[in-house]
């Protein structure tokens, strides 16, 4: 399997692993989402590189309707946003290194 196929399948597997923890097995509750963030997206290779603001804004969008639930559509767009944050960080060298960065 290619690296990209693995990536796509991982998106689904990780969502499923956390979403199934409670009764609504096709949605991430806010508690499940918090666990996922904490365990799956807290490493230095990723979290240390992406601007914290990008992550915060992506999380805010996720919870737009305040029902506390994230379906796979919302999750897939959340990951796309994070990927764009990572892309920008690696392309421009602008990451999370300094809190003084001021994006326009």
């Amino acid at each position: 399997m290619s690296q990209l196929e693995k990536a796509i399948i991982s998106m689904v597997e990780v969502f499923d692993e956390y979403a199934r923890k409670d009764d609504k097995k096709n949605q991430l509750s806010s508690a499940e989402m918090a666990k996922l963030m904490n365990k799956e997206l807290a490493g230095p290779e990723f979290n240390g590189k992406v601007d914290q603001k990008v992550i915060d804004e992506a999380l805010e969008k996720l919870d737009k309707n305040h029902d506390g639930e994230t379906n796979f559509r919302e999750f897939s767009m959340f990951l796309a946003t994070l990927a764009r944050g990572y892309y920008r960080a690696t392309k421009t060298g602008k990451g999370n290194k300094s809190k003084s960065a001021k994006p326009e």
Copy 2:
């Protein structure tokens, strides 16, 4: 590194690997995109499961402005669409097995 972090980083790496093949190193030309599809998204674990219609529609959206170039934002949304196709295929069992499937 977690599975999900690897997935996000792979999205960027694969884009970069193909986009850099010509002068416009931050864009996938249609030729580069075709190569990428052919080499990275043609395996049976992925392509064999996702409804071909989903892939075709995602590709059509990608080339909406007909400039033949795909930037990382567009590519990230393309992958999110494919992930949703894969999610649906695994959840509902509706995949690419039969050409007679009629999604509503």
